[in-house]
Amino acid sequence: MTVMTPAAADRVPAGTPTVGSGSVVLRALLRNKLAVLALAVLVLLLAAALFAPLIAPYDPNSQDLLLRLRPPAWQDGGSGAHPLGTDQLGRDMLSRVIYGARVSLLVGAGAALLAGAIGTVVGLVSGYFGGWADRVLMRLADIQLAFPALLLALAIVGFLGSGLWYVILVLGFTGWVSYARVVRSEVMSLRSRDFITEARAIGVTDATIMRRHLLPNVMAPLATIATLHVAAAVVAEASLSYLGLGVPKETVTWGSMLADGQLYLGTSWWVAVFPGIALMLTSLAINITGDALRDVADPKAYRR
């Protein structure tokens, strides 16, 4: 569903149905104050991830065993040198939280892109051609759904080895079904529209129709699902890292920081709390943005 009315979409010249709607979406998003706040948080996070080496006061892995488990600056015993304190190996919490954003956002975006690419192709083919291709692909989707995603990810990462790319691949290959279903249903309703039948009548190939005429029209719902999936992937990566089965130990992740921090909860709350807050803020900000996108793209759902 785009912000255009169905009638307008039919009249628009082929291939350009949604050009310009990006700014409409953005303007509508900016009217939602909560979404603006969420977007601001996301921009900050993205900046932290991109410029981590410039912003972080220390190397996130450099240890100082004389300064172990120092509290944050505002508590007794804390100092401005380590604003958020240090962990059990004397590593700077602030630097680690900043570096943690890298893995989280990279995995989140990577998994959503991969799942989105797979799901979109499956949905386009399934919805456009119908018939046996549709039946096979949708049955495949059912089977995929029957595997609990986290468990599958656990088993694959646990057995094939830990690594950033494994985590992205696993989360990408387990997350495509919702994209495929939505694209399929959109394509099925678009398939019989005039601008598609006309394109077919003048001899445009199926591949071109899918790429130039159908794909632009499913971008809005795709963007919504992808946003929500980024949040899910961020949480899934943190879960795997918390269980010690995600990325290697040397990589700084919020999930593994939480697992470490849990051991020191009784004496040093900050080791677990700061990565936890960062994780929750990230997931919350992405979810709010996704919800706002959906409200803009699908006004019917707005009243809910």
């Binding site: 089977i143 609990p148 269980l243 997931s283």
Partner: protein, 330 residues
């Protein structure tokens, strides 16, 4: 929405029609059972080959200075020297008898280990289900009836928070407040009711959010339909209308999505068990994966997949009881 209180008048053919529906329902159940068995077979096959793609458990079980003779002796005693196909056939053949082989680490039948750990997981899941129903149903009804007002926004903010917070972070926060801060409840362990409270709440947070959100939105849909309006016109109070007419119709989409969310809930159970050192199947799964205990991993993966499949089967079947239209159109 059709009026669900309308009964078919008794006709001479009513008995036969009833038989017809029963046959259809039976056929539907059989078809779904067939799919379920197929999905479980796929899962078993994937699990079997996946664990074998990874490292060698024999190397992990023996000290690094073990001789080749010791290695091959252990390999043959574990049955890992047989051809892959034989191992696969044995594994699949044992499934109907719930024979998953022997654990490589514990040296016991896997089924017995699973049976030992199962009660703790069931206890946790049941407690979380109770928390979910007790919190989410009133919250959803309350928010739907006060749609757009402050109290609705408060519930929806809670829902958003609950859906965005990973279970292990919820658990750690609860431990920090109620165990470390207030000394009111134990931080981990198993056995008494006090030990159950924090894990159950931790596991329930996500499902409370999902159920409350869905119940609210589907109640809002149902409340604007004709039969609700006529019930209101008859002079029933708003809460009575919701409870007697709205809830049953609104429960259909909720049940559907809960079925699909079972996967997340199982993942949540694994994480929750880890946070609280809960001696259930979730902890067992993680131990088995890190120990490369092939038979145990296969069995735990199958256990979770079977739970998912069975819950979704029950969800499909519950449609025909929740919504008479499904019963007659099938």
């Amino acid at each position: 929405m059709s009026d669900i209180t309308l009964e078919q008048p008794p006709t001479p053919t009513a008995g036969r029609r009833h038989d017809h529906h029963a046959t259809r329902l039976l056929w539907f159940v059989l078809k779904r059972l067939g799919t379920a068995v197929f999905v479980l077979l796929c899962t078993a096959t994937v699990a079997f080959f996946l664990v074998r793609l990874s490292g060698d458990p024999v190397k992990l079980l023996l000290p690094p200075d073990a001789t080749a003779a010791q290695e091959s002796a252990l390999r043959s005693s574990l049955g890992l020297d047989r051809p892959l196909f034989t191992q696969y056939v044995d594994f699949i053949g044992g499934l109907p008898r719930l024979d998953f082989g022997n654990s490589l680490v514990y040296n016991q039948p896997v089924s017995r280990i699973l049976a030992d750990r199962l009660p703790a997981t069931i206890e946790l899941a049941a407690a979380a289900l109770v928390v979910t129903l007790v919190v989410a149903i009133p919250a959803g009804i309350f928010a739907a009836m006060r749609r757009g007002r402050g109290s609705d926004h408060a519930v929806m903010t809670g829902v958003l928070l609950g859906q965005s917070t990973p279970p292990f972070w919820v658990g750690i926060l609860l431990v920090l407040v109620f165990a470390v801060g207030l000394h009111a409840l134990p931080a981990s362990g198993y056995g008494t009711f006090a030990h159950l409270v924090l894990p159950a709440v931790t596991l329930a947070v996500y499902s409370v959010a999902v159920v409350a959100r869905l119940l609210r939105s589907s109640l809002i849909d149902v409340l604007s339909s004709d039969h609700i309006r006529s019930a209101r016109a008859k002079g029933f109070g708003p809460l009575k209308v919701v409870l007697t007419h709205g809830l049953r119709n609104a429960s259909l989409p909720v049940v559907t999505v809960v079925g699909l969310e079972v996967g997340s809930l199982l993942g949540g159970a694994i994480l929750t068990e880890r946070v609280f050192s809960w001696p259930g199947v979730g902890q067992l799964t993680i131990e088995a994966i890190s120990n490369r205990d092939f038979p145990l991993v296969q069995a735990t993966v199958l256990f979770f997949a079977a739970t998912f499949v069975v819950v979704n089967l029950l969800v499909d079947l519950s449609y025909s009881f929740l919504d008479p239209r499904v019963r007659t159109s099938r």
